[in-house]
Amino acid sequence: MSVAPPGESANRLRGDLMAYATLSLISIFCAVPFFWLLIASFDGNAQLFLRWPETWTFANYLRVFAKEDGAKWLFNSLFVVGSATLLVMVLSGLGGYALSRTRAWWKLPFLYAILLIRVLPSTALIVPLYKFLLTLNNAESALLRPIFGSATRDIMRWTGFIDGYLGLILVLATMQLPLSLWIMKTFFDGLPRDYEEAALMDGATMIQRIRRVLVPLALPGLAASGLFAFMSAWGDFLLPLILLSSPELQTLPLGLFRAFLRINEIDYGLLTALAFIYLVPAVVAFGFARRFLVQTFSGGVKG
């Protein structure tokens, strides 16, 4: 055991105290908004400023679901982001595998090129993107209208590129795909080919190799790439704002935004309850992510 001179150890103690005090201040600074959200959402008479509720109540949450279309917004958000995540997982799983195993010369240029999509701010591309989707949407509409007549709008609500689920799902997935492809490519790089070849020698068909060997082995990587996609798409606000207009297609962040913009009154109880509902899936996703991230980024599959 080494013995530090008394002066030095006192210095170290003072340094530690300063560090902890600073960190605590920063943590409090970061945590206060969440704390305010939580208590204000249960406050029957929530105000702009942090205060302890006089009466605890679920009224704010009831209002979200009964008076407002909260259930619909939540469903829309979960459906759109969930579908985009699923799409990203399937595409990044297949694509990451192909990118990992190919020896094509364009592999690295391609990987860097797609990362550019992720780096460019989507706001900058919003006009051409909108134009592009609008053209697709009009074409689809022109194709469907003669066949389905007045039912076309109901179909387009699901399959439309503008003001329809499909368009938003595709765009959200596209934004998340580059990072997920990178994650999966790196993951498969660390997965020995021997696994597949052993299965091949055992007589596994292509489908069996994917279903019984590759998918189970890739699960930690897929979970990581899916969770990243989910968390990032869940937080996206601009794309649904631009691409959706029908009230029945609104997502949670849009609902929250519009409730905040109402000029006659600002209902802090409603806003905080909405915000809290909006936070929960992200926090849950993060909880899952932590477990898989450790597995994925600390050496892949051991076996």
Binding site: D194, Y195, A198, L200, M201, D202, G203, K302, G303
Partner: protein
């Protein structure tokens, strides 16, 4: 019996297997050995069906199997990484090939237990590979191979992931298994000790060609070329540049480094005059009295192993290793008179072909 007839493999324009001819008989333990990158794995994977064969024939038990898919060849392979599926138990890993064939679960269980009995894996059947030691994983990987009742089992450097003590133990274990199963085995390694201790037949590969094939002691005593001579045996055979000069009709004189001078009997198939190489193993060099010495050299390194001692003598760029019985008192810097056993000398041409083998066997 597996037979390779003038087998070739190209990666693009690069020829990595350059016309290999090899035969492995039924029940034989054949070891393909060679330095890293010489094409051992490629050759093994061609036999397994994981790599295509660009030209030549691969014949298993009388049938040409060049174009038979891997799982239909009746060949099993144990991978270097073992490739055990981490999401399956030991039993599921071993029974995987049967479950793919839709064999009834009860029958799979019965066969898995049979295999587990042979490999002493009974207690581990419900564990996952992650909870096994290196040696146990190795046995599971072998179990996954032998449950298919293959006519040939391939191993690609299966011991390279184990520590040295376990490696010695697994070597014995593999030999026992080979005897019990009377299986035909092709085993790939870069380690000539593994090859010498386990093989019925060694195939030495060098840069995509067979340098020599045969029983271990044939290769040791009668190498076909300098490559095999120096690759097989540890410590390596000493190979020294010499100049040969005929001395009458019965003998030839060799002059080498360190003032080396010796005369070999040379009557029936006379050696040519000129530059050549003398190959002599460490155990065929002896410390002798000064007047009997072929050369005198300064000791650079002394390695005492108790039962024997290795002296490295000569210069750094032309070291010569001498094996001496027992524990000796030489020290670095000592000058020792040395002689080669004339009956144990190999003569190679300047480009490495054998001109004359030792006549001691």
């Amino acid at each position: 019996m597996i037979h390779l007839n003038n087998v070739r493999k190209f990666y693009g324009a690069l020829e990595v297997i350059k016309g290999v001819d090899v035969t492995v008989d039924d029940g034989e333990f054949a070891v393909f050995v060679g330095p890293s990158g010489c094409g051992k794995s490629t050759l093994l994977r061609m036999i397994a069906g994981l790599e295509g064969i660009d030209s030549g024939d691969l014949v298993l038990n009388g049938t040409r199997i060049n174009d038979v898919p891997p799982d239909k060849r009746g060949i099993a392979m144990v991978f270097q990484s073992y490739a055990l599926y981490p999401h399956m138990t030991v039993a599921e890993n071993i029974g995987f090939s049967l479950s793919l064939k839709k064999v009834a679960p009860a029958e799979i269980r019965r066969q898995v237990e049979e295999v587990a009995e042979i490999l002493q894996l009974r207690e581990l059947l419900d564990r996952r590979p992650g909870a096994l030691s290196g040696g146990q994983r190795q046995r599971v990987a072998i179990g996954r191979a032998i449950i298919k009742k293959p006519s040939l089992i391939l191993f690609d450097e299966p011991l390279s992931n184990l520590d040295s003590a376990l490696r010695v133990q697994m070597r014995a274990e593999l030999q026992r298994l080979h005897r019990e199963l009377s299986a035909t085995v092709v085993y790939v390694t870069h380690d000539q000790v593994e090859a010498m201790t386990m093989a019925d037949k060694i195939v030495v590969l060098n840069q995509g060609t067979v340098a020599q094939a045969g029983p271990p002691m044939d290769l040791y005593h009668r190498p076909d070329n300098e490559f095999v001579a120096t690759f097989i045996g540890s410590p390596k055979m000493n190979v020294l540049p010499v100049t040969m000069t005929r001395e009458g009709s019965e003998s030839i004189h060799l002059a080498g480094p360190l003032g080396m001078a010796l005369t070999l009997a040379d009557a029936n198939a006379p050696l040519p005059d000129g530059a050549a190489k003398l190959g002599v193993r460490p155990e065929h060099l002896r410390v002798v009295a000064e007047e009997a010495a072929h050369f005198i050299a300064e000791v650079a390194i002394v390695e005492r192993l108790g039962v024997e001692t290795y002296l490295t003598v000569g210069s750094i760029d032309q070291p010569i290793v001498v094996r001496v019985e027992g524990d000796v008192t030489f020290r670095p810097g000592d000058r020792v008179p040395l002689a080669a056993d004339p009956t144990a000398c190999h003569i190679f041409s300047a480009d490495g072909r054998i001109l004359r083998s030792a006549n001691a066997a």
